[in-house]
């Protein structure tokens, strides 16, 4: 039983009681080719008929979606990072004649093309990182584990899905998710998140986001094959000197047993709003129950102590 709560688990679908099942399906999101077009966000909403999530200009670069939630199942993050700070040396007003600030000392060296995934631009280089985030469909999914109704469940494709006909909106899945993916939709009361287009999978179709993605940043397929693809892509980028490339959620030994939807990132996970080392909370369920039991026993003890010497 322990192995099905954390650590490596090769047949997560079988573990969920499916004797004869298709291969586990998932996403590999290669952010190095993401152009931030947000087609995934819209295609997802159109297919799944997810309501809009408010009209707010956030000032977070071109990200006005902000985060995954009950009404946002794909979220494209935009991170602007100057590789060479250009602000200070741009001859700000009051620093002598225009253009003669500290800039005179010479132009910063533009990063060589390709290196560090930074684009040389004018007198500096800029990274504008874009990444389409989605539910990770964890091997060990906390949302699923803690769901008291069985609404959240592991499908025959190894994905994690909310059954809207079951969910009673208890909200337990919300704080359980180490990625902050799932949420309750206020006006509806129930929890919602990416289903990996469960209905489409039933007919062998590609999920809406992956089908729309113009640059194949979002790749859909069998998880084992996607992992190989991700490894190959990582090696390719490393060969090209893009040392910042790393895989996220690909490792079956990680805190959630690897993600069904994993990523190739070009910076630290937290830069994109992802936890650097997520762990499924139910990894500790044994310890938790142990302590709960001990505490309950303590309470019994307190009871006994309270009545000590008062026997009728």
């Amino acid at each position: 039983m322990t192995h099905s709560l954390h650590g490596r688990l090769d047949d997560v679908t079988g573990d969920a009681g499916y004797a004869d099942h298709p291969k586990r399906k998932g996403f590999f999101t290669d952010t190095s080719v993401c152009i931030g077009c947000k087609a995934c966000e819209v295609a997802c909403k159109e297919w799944n008929q997810v309501p809009d999530d408010g009209f707010e200009l956030t000032g977070m670069s071109y990200d006005n979606t902000q985060a995954l939630g009950a009404s946002t199942w794909r979220h494209v993050a935009f991170v602007e990072k100057p590789v060479h700070p250009t602000t200070a040396d741009l001859g700000l007003p009051g620093m002598g004649p225009p253009g003669f600030g500290t800039h005179e000392s010479g132009l910063p060296q533009a990063a060589p093309a390709g290196e560090d995934q930074a684009t040389a631009s004018g007198d500096g280089a800029l990274r504008w990182l874009m990444s389409s985030d989605v539910c990770k469909h964890c091997t060990h999914a906390a949302c699923l584990d803690v769901c008291p109704t069985g609404s959240l469940f592991r499908t025959e494709f190894g994905t994690v899905v909310v059954q809207p006909d079951i969910c009673n909106g208890c909200g337990y899945c919300v704080p359980a998710c180490p990625y902050g993916v799932i949420d309750l939709r206020k006006e509806d009361g129930r929890a919602f998140k990416c289903t990996l287009c469960y209905d489409r999978l039933k007919e062998g179709q590609t999920p809406a986001c992956a089908q729309a993605c113009p640059t194949e940043s979002i790749q859909f397929g069998d998880v084992d094959e996607l992992r190989q693809r991700a490894d190959a892509r990582l090696a390719e980028l490393h060969d090209r000197g893009v040392d910042v490339a790393r895989l996220y959620g690909r490792d079956p030994e990680d805190g959630v047993g690897g993600d069904g939807a994993f990523f190739l990132l070009l910076d630290e996970p937290e830069v994109y709003g992802l936890p650097p080392d997520p762990v499924v909370t139910t990894r500790d369920i044994g310890s938790i129950w142990k302590h709960v039991g001990a505490a309950a026993a303590t309470l019994v003890g307190i009871g006994v102590v309270s009545f000590a010497g008062r026997r009728r």
């Binding site: 080719v33 152009i35 931030g36 077009c37 947000k38 087609a39 966000e41 819209v42 909403k45 159109e46 309501p51 809009d52 999530d53 408010g54 009209f55 707010e56 200009l57 000032g59 670069s61 071109y62 006005n64 979606t65 602007e80 100057p82 250009t86 602000t87 741009l90 001859g91 700000l92 007003p93 004649p97 225009p98 253009g99 003669f100 800039h103 132009l107 533009a110 093309a113 390709g114 684009t119 040389a120 631009s121 004018g122 007198d123 500096g124 800029l126 990274r127 504008w128 990182l129 874009m130 113009p214 640059t215 194949e216």
Partner: protein, 865 residues
């Protein structure tokens, strides 16, 4: 490209994955820049200097693809000795008429060719000077104003015969040497001075470009149509053409210049134009000064070399498709039914006419000029002065509601009760509610089937115009007035179908395709005759209904064919996917290289072979030399790949057909923060101006308007917004209008990220939230910086989210070839929201006063340098 055409960009990403180097040249750092190898920030409007610098780099280092350039281009052609360059005249070519503000191209001709032909040519504007047949000099002005250059959309303008050549390219008056001298001062240092691009970055681009061109490799240029939005827009694109031609990147796979156009059928609406200056297939609209009969209309082309030599057949076939049996040889095929131009009847001039009460009825068909056109105020003032306005759209757009919620209502410049315009809002059918074809940006026609009936009163334009025509004809049926003959004789009887009795689009497409004497659909424009036996609604589309099959409806999956995919849709002309593809083979007909093999001469079969349809005469061998005096297609030699040009060559130098000079020259935008570093002439001398009090121009290098602004699109929205900011899924992605500035500019003006700012030009002031971002680059030009204010232009007063429209800031100054406005201007930007009501008017008035702009004489503030 990633920004405005993400799906098209998949091919760029695929190329990148295969090792291609992606270079992005843009004032701002966009989604394209993010995945490019190199982003080159450039001052808006300075593209010719940059591209000219590259041309200079190629020429001064002998990096051109000489084996391609000599046989396939006019590099060897020798030019008239009277020609003087901008280098000689400090920013002018020879032949400039200062009074009228345009060129007489006579001195630009090939050496020894006749002076421009007398009259009737397809290209009246360019090659008719005061020496032409016009009764007086006044004619040439309005001839110049009829945007005739655009009729070269399917081929070059006609020149007389073939020029003398110096194959060694050494003759001082040969095009190659002229080009070299013309661009000699476009050095990397000058590029920095003009564009703000550092020499080392310039060299990176130059090296990447030249190393990636030649026999084994090709380079492609892609532009979104922001390139056309300049008073030198046509010449910007020409500079790219010159560069690509010098490098041998035209007519070859992986080469070319790709215009990424912004509307589903904007290419189609140029081919089968809803444009004032042309008829279907780029036939010019007749001009009153020259084209009073068919003979004079086609005279300029008839008998010429190349495919335009058959222009009479194209014109007669069109007249037959318009007026059918009524069009006979005896009545000049009803040529007289065609209305004539007398000058500039383009949209901005029309709007001026509306303001001045000369034009009273207006149809807006899927177009929202109150937001989408430059100088929105002029658009609204025009619409407020109509008798009637018909607006056809999916959603309630600003151009239909200006009378109650336009910005001028708020300022008091317009009063609802005083606006006499009668407005009909007619709901339109969407793309799934009608069957029809779009022509996409690579000239491909793709047919859409109808999915559902349109809701309520919504109707297709096909049905609207068909029924409108029927009603008008019915109401006029008893008229004996000659003016009504063209309407009454019109072939206007299409089969209808479905519960709404819609006209059958297939039947219309078949009419466009054309039919022969037997009534059967034609299969190629080479079948068209000038005797009235054939009819064809658009000669370049002939073949789209070949074999009575709607070829545009072909949908053979790409995995069932090779990469040319010639069985998907139909591409004009003749289903040809790459134009000029004869140039994909060397002069002797063999591929330039195995890697770049595309079309080649198969001597055994005595035909051109390859996956595409050859853009040539299929059985004409590479060694063919035409007979002396041959005309039309017969005059095309075996090594003349550019068959729509009368001389069969790509034009590095345009002896004809470009209004503002045979070679591109850098001029500053009409509003600029700097003096033109290259010439004393500040602006394009032949740019089209629109003098009107509502169109005042900021003085250049004014301290009152120190910043450059440029408008653009965002991935999440579509043009004037009617199809995007009405949809929650798109609106939530970019929910509010905003502008973008660099940190340096924000510091200079005290702007705080996320706060409101006001942007001011002499036209008006608008407000938006500001994003302070490193993506906006401060550009260093010599010893100064130039800052840009970036403005996505999708918003207006209607929709799910609303805001001021950036196009209200844009002035109307136009390219002299195609009359497209210059989107670049100067502005001021200040923290805080703009004044409301009448206070806005006085706020802007104060700016104008300080900058010395006189609205009574809007040209006053203009700097000519």
């Amino acid at each position: 490209m990633a920004e405005a055409h993400p799906v098209g960009f998949q091919w760029v990403m695929e190329a990148k994955r295969r090792g291609a180097t992606i270079i992005h040249v843009d004032p701002r750092f966009t989604r394209t820049s993010a995945v490019a190898d190199l982003h080159v920030p450039i001052r808006a409007g300075s593209d010719i200097a940059f591209l000219g610098g590259l041309v200079n780099h190629v020429l001064s280092n002998d990096l051109d693809f000489r084996e391609y350039v000599v046989p396939y281009t006019n590099a060897a052609a020798i030019i008239d000795e009277r020609f003087l360059d901008t280098e000689d005249l400090d920013g002018f070519f020879s032949g400039f008429d200062t009074e009228r503000g345009h060129y007489d191209p006579e001195s630009w001709q090939y050496d020894g060719t006749e002076a421009a032909p007398a009259a009737g040519q397809r290209d009246p504007a360019q090659d008719t000077g005061p020496h032409g047949s016009s009764p007086d000099g006044g004619d040439s002005k309005d001839l110049h104003e009829s945007a005739a250059s655009e009729s070269h959309g399917s081929g070059g303008p006609p020149v007389e015969g073939k020029p003398p050549r110096d194959e060694t390219l050494q003759h001082p008056r040969c095009v190659y040497q002229i080009l070299k001298r013309h661009f000699a001062r476009y050095t990397p240092e000058m590029v920095q001075e003009v564009c703000g691009i550092a020499p080392e970055q310039f060299r990176q681009v130059a090296d990447a470009l030249t190393h990636n061109s030649g026999r084994e490799r090709t380079t492609a240029f892609c532009y979104a149509v922001g390139w056309t939005h300049h008073s030198v827009g046509s010449q910007m694109i020409r500079t790219a053409s010159i560069l690509q031609t010098l490098l041998g990147n035209i007519g070859r796979p992986g080469g070319g210049i790709m215009a990424l156009r912004g509307h589903a059928s904007i290419q189609g609406s140029t081919d089968i134009p809803t444009l004032f200056n042309i008829l279907p297939g780029y036939l010019p609209m007749p001009h009153a000064a020259q084209h009073q009969d068919l003979d004079s209309y086609v005279e300029g082309d008839a008998g010429k070399t190349g495919f335009w030599g058959n222009m009479r057949a194209y014109a007669v076939s069109l007249l037959k498709s318009y007026w059918g049996d009524a069009a006979t040889a005896g009545n000049d095929f009803c040529f007289d039914y065609l209305p004539r131009l007398t000058g500039d009847h383009s949209t901005y001039n029309t709007v001026k006419g509306q303001i001045e009460g000369r034009s009273k009825g207006y149809f807006l068909v899927g177009e929202n000029p109150a937001v989408g056109s430059a100088n929105g105020k002029m658009q609204r003032l025009g619409m407020a002065n109509l008798d009637w306005l018909v607006v056809r759209d999916l959603q309630m757009i600003e151009s239909a509601t200006f009378w109650k919620d336009g910005p001028e209502i708020a300022t008091g410049e317009l009063v609802t009760e005083e606006i006499g315009t009668e407005v009909f809002f007619m709901p339109a059918a969407s793309h799934v509610e009608k069957a029809g074809s779009f022509t996409q940006t690579q000239r491909m026609l793709q047919w859409r089937d109808k999915a559902v009936e349109p809701p309520g009163d919504a109707r297709s334009e096909l049905q609207f115009y068909y029924e409108l025509g029927q009603r008008i004809r019915e109401k006029l049926k008893d008229s004996t007035d000659e003016m009504d003959r063209p309407l009454l004789d019109l072939t206007w009887d299409y089969p209808t179908e479905g519960p709404l009795h819609e006209p059958d689009g297939h039947a219309v497409l078949r009419e466009i395709n054309g039919t022969g004497p037997d009534g059967r659909a034609l299969s190629a424009y080479t079948q068209l005759e000038d005797d009235g036996s054939t009819s064809c609604g658009c000669w370049i589309y002939c073949g789209v209904y070949a074999d009575e099959v709607n070829q545009a409806r072909r949908r053979k999956p790409h995995w069932e064919q090779d990469y040319v995919a010639s069985e998907w849709g139909w591409v004009w002309p003749a289903n040809r996917r790459i134009l000029y593809n004869r140039a994909s083979a060397a002069p002797d007909g063999t591929p330039w290289s195995e890697r770049k093999r595309y079309m080649w001469w198969d001597a055994e079969q005595h035909t051109w072979a390859g996956s595409d349809v050859v853009d040539f005469i299929a059985d004409r061998p590479p060694d063919h030399v035409p007979d002396e005096g041959a005309t039309g297609p017969d005059a095309i030699g075996g090594q003349d790949p550019f068959i729509m040009q009368t001389d069969g060559k790509a034009w590095l130098y345009a002896p004809l057909g470009v209004a503002d000079g045979p070679l591109p020259t850098h001029y500053e935008p009409p509003e600029s923060p700097i003096h033109n570093p290259l010439y004393r002439q500040q602006n394009n001398p032949s740019r089209r101006k629109l003098d009107h009090p509502a169109n005042p121009i900021n003085p250049s290098y004014s301290e009152v308007f120190p910043y450059v602004f440029t408008t653009y699109r965002l991935t999440e929205h579509h043009t004037a917004g009617a199809m995007s900011r009405t949809l929650p899924y798109l609106t939530e992605l970019q929910p509010e209008p905003f502008c973008e500035v660099s940190r340096r500019l924000a510091e200079e003006r005290g702007l705080t990220h996320g706060d409101w700012v006001t942007i001011v030009t002499a036209r008006t002031a608008i407000e938006a939230r500001v994003l302070v971002t490193d993506r906006m680059r401060s550009l260093r030009l010599g010893d100064r910086f130039v800052e840009h204010v970036g403005l996505p232009y999708h918003w207006g007063p209607n929709g799910l989210t609303t805001g001021d429209s950036p196009n209200d800031l844009v002035n109307v100054t136009m390219d002299p070839n195609v009359y497209i406005q210059d989107k670049v201007g100067t502005c001021d930007i200040r923290p805080g929201r703009r004044p409301r009501g009448p206070a806005l008017t006085s706020y802007v008035e104060d700016y104008r006063r300080r900058a010395g702009v006189d609205t009574a004489d809007p040209t006053n503030g203009r700097t000519e340098g």
